[in-house]
Symmetry: C2
Subunit: 462 residues, 2 copies
């Protein structure tokens, strides 16, 4: 099928402005899965994707879940016997707050000049609408020039990724036969830098917990009770202030059990990448690495677990002063996990960590909101080999094999429920401000990513 | 003047239902000084008091400040040479939140039966509208029966007590001559129990601080940065978790400097009160005392300083999970102070405590919102002697001399700016839920307090 490739790449180049306009159309739909008020927008974003697939020869439809629908599409490609790919993406986005920090409205995509040329600024620009659009545009070009993709293709685009994909496992399990494929292809990760493509082979997992402490049965006057009554906010800081020791090691019982240390070859490969942690931190206004003191930077980010407080609240938080001893105090804690850690054990460790520090009169409720294990995908396979060829042709240099500090739970779900390994080829950059105000996607990444997907389709078929 | 007293007490008894109705009228005005939307209500509460004073022979008016007006009234009493009393109260109240925990709307006073008979439930019921109304009703009875009080009386009712009285010092300084008196009489403290009246001779002061920590220049994705970037919420818990050592001693540098230990006689008197800390804590659902391990209960509450976190916030605090490393984290900290501590030194100690624990890359802003020293007022004076006589007659048992863990900054201001000592005779109970939902005032306390004030007026004149 490689004979079509030059025309397909030329078509992608010619179509670039139209592809950008389509991406902006999708970005204008505020499909925030966490907020019930946006349920209708989530549905619109799903319908938009369904219609795009239908326009390029897919049989596509919306499939209901308990909350936001899943878009599923199928294309027979050249027919039975051809390699079968399952493309995964998500149409939902994170909440946009704090709104005041955006330089343009989050759901009015703005094309802005940056050091790498034009970029699109919007919530979802890269995570994951922009990344999903790349393979959609590659499939569109194959449709236009060759009448369809050179492989069998199944598409699965969900709308609950940003809230932990609560419906996905049940959906995969219930549709195992329909979703059968040879490999899953996912663009939700990053490049090494704008000139260097990357294939991600490690992802961290997560345990996300909410901790609710309670002491007295009502709020108290700090003058009348201060010196006698237990203060749950002081207690919360006392407990959570011990999460890390002075060397940055997490003190949750059993936290590091089962972790396989990375081997010397892996360490050497990552060292060869020449990661500049100073510059990485400098971009966000920091200079001194946090985390475990005795570990290399990329190991801390890709192969070591964390315990970060994502939120804390209690008592009076308004203007000025209120002299109250609150009855309750709360925190949200997420631990990023690495392969070998058992999420259930870590969850149990969090419960024990809190319980062991709880004095008489205080009660603690620990609610586990998410558990996903860290995961490693094969670094050697026909799919990885094909992707390396395609990426080297597009970028003129070899792709590097990297880890990611983030979590993509669907990778583990697809392995467990569909028996599928994933090929993780993404085109985001470290400064894309994912989950933050002014999220952006470089248009150069978008177009080269689209071309890379078009080339990978040929290489997979080849 | 004591010949009028039997008729005055009979009048107070006969007027009780009308006095309750008047108290409820005042309580219906939501005069929340902290909330700008209630500025008009604060003014209405002030006008209400002015009109009450005018109706019983006072020259009374509203005096502007930068925010809520002060009510000032004068009554010549029997004329020059008579003792001159300055009655102080405040018409403003705390915010009523959390509203959901009230059993009746906070500004619709409800008369409810309790173990001591009927009580009024409303925001401000005891703090300080109910307590202020007692001396107003006593003055009203003297007016009705004797044509006026037996002493010269100046009245000062402010509207910013619950926000730290920002305008009061300047007002006192500017009106020193007009506010001249022999002693200040204040009802904003408590009884020992419902049968035992009390005169308060010690009050704690306060330093109230807001602490704002900042790290990265924007919110970060906890997957992409966790293990490398400093988390300001983890840091906040690490710093504030060290506020107390394992024995409950506060670790702020220089915190205990200058405190005069209470003498053996004071300790013996307080021990003789037979305070049951177990019951005190049991009422609020607690069983184990907090605070300094080696100190007696009343000493911890009245003669030892505290460091209580009154509020904490940062990051994601909504439903579910958001995997963010926040850029900022915040807390509100109040230290109750005792005589001998220098509030400026404590404020400086808080700054040092935070600065000494601050790593590279984090910045901390410590804003001091309030500073008031702890204070002791004379336990021997003609005013205390007169009050003891009056209280013993009303209650049939002697009044006890106690401390209070709370702060009444005006006591220190009146001494410093007007050269006036205060006589602190209050009628609140420990379970009045001051500053909490379902604040209440026992009507028995209200009426016996009114009678006590009527008796004290006679005793002061005597």
């Amino acid at each position: 099928m490689t004979q079509h490739l030059p025309a397909i790449l030329a078509h992608i180049n010619a179509e670039a402005p139209a592809a950008e306009a389509r991406l902006c159309d999708w970005l204008r739909i505020p499909s925030i899965s966490a907020q019930p008020a946006h349920a209708g927008d989530c549905r619109r974003a799903a319908e938009w994707m369904r219609d795009q697939l239908a326009a390029i020869g897919f049989t596509a439809g919306l499939r209901p879940t308990a909350d936001h629908p899943v878009v599923v599409g199928h294309h027979p490609g050249p027919g039975p016997g051809a390699p079968h790919l399952l493309f995964y993406g998500h149409y939902d986005v994170q909440p946009a707050d704090p709104l005041a920090l955006w330089t343009s409205p989050p759901f009015e995509p703005a094309i802005v000049q940056g050091p790498h040329g034009p970029r699109v600024v919007a919530r979802g620009a890269v995570d994951d609408k922009g990344q999903t659009m790349m393979w959609l545009e590659a499939l569109r070009a194959w449709h236009a020039i060759a009448g369809g993709p050179p492989c069998r293709v199944t598409v699965l685009v969900e709308g609950e990724e940003e809230v932990g994909s609560p419906s996905l496992d049940a959906f995969l399990a219930a549709n195992r036969a329909e979703l059968a494929a040879d490999v899953a292809v996912i663009s939700d990760t990053g490049m090494w830098d704008i000139d260097t493509p990357a294939i991600t082979t490690r992802l961290r997992g997560m345990v996300y917990a909410q901790i609710d402490l309670r002491a007295a049965r009502r709020d108290l006057h700090s003058g009348l009770y201060g010196g006698s009554a237990l203060n749950p906010i002081n207690l919360l800081t006392r407990i959570l202030g011990e999460l890390q020791d002075d060397d940055g090691r997490v003190r949750i019982p059993g936290f590091y059990e089962g972790i396989a240390e990375i081997g010397p070859q892996q360490a050497a490969e990552w060292a060869a990448l020449g990661f500049d942690e100073g510059a990485y931190l400098g971009d966000i206004g920091l200079s001194v690495p946090s985390g475990e003191r005795d570990r290399a930077a990329l190991e801390r980010l890709w192969a070591r677990p964390t315990a970060d407080l994502n939120g804390i609240w209690g008592g009076y938080t308004g203007e000025g002063s209120k002299t109250v001893i609150a009855a309750e105090a709360h925190a949200k804690l997420s631990c990023r996990l690495v392969p070998g850690q058992d999420p259930a054990r870590v969850a149990e460790g969090i419960r024990r960590f809190v319980a062991e520090r709880l004095p008489a009169d205080a009660s603690a409720e620990v609610t586990i909101l998410t558990t996903t294990p860290g995961i490693e995908v094969p670094a050697e396979s026909r799919w990885v080999r094909a992707a390396r060829v395609a990426l080297a042709e597009e970028y003129g240099r070899p792709a590097v094999l990297i880890g990611s500090g983030g979590s993509i739970p669907v990778v583990e779900s697809m392995r467990r429920l569909l028996g599928l390994n994933s090929l993780l080829v993404g085109f985001g950059l470290a400064d894309d401000q994912v989950h933050s105000p002014n999220e952006k996607f470089e248009l150069r990444c978008f177009h080269q990513g689209t071309r890379s997907h078009a080339r990978m389709l040929a290489a997979f078929a080849g």
